[in-house]
Symmetry: C2
Subunit: 81 residues, 2 copies
Amino acid sequence: MLKATVYVTIKKSVLDPQGVAVQGALRSVGFQEVESLRIGKYMEMTLDTDDRAVAEERLKEMCEKLLANTVIEDYRYELED
Amino acid sequence: MLKATVYVTIKKSVLDPQGVAVQGALRSVGFQEVESLRIGKYMEMTLDTDDRAVAEERLKEMCEKLLANTVIEDYRYELED
């Protein structure tokens, strides 16, 4: 059993309206120090395999196929035992 | 200028329908090894301050007031320079 964490973030060159909205909300309640804010997705999963190499390969496939829209999003993942 | 990362996750005891849906989608396209999956939010921000203690205090306030619903969500944050 392996534990994986996947981070999906909007590419730097792509506008992040959700982040802009949250930044505006923070500023409007007094957090003027927030200069920029970008929002991404964070997924924690457990995988029924003990082979790290296989798990990495499968995670890459998951991200490419389903979890990230690679036109506008970047992804990265971490594996722990 | 400090860079902060905020993670907001649904509490372990609370059902995560979005995670269940994504897990189902992954299984339906052949990723049977996904045993469990939970989704959270991930925010990267830059703060216009150089005082780490102040920044930590303010981040805590932001999370409590706006970024997380502490009834059903947990949050944690990391600070880097």
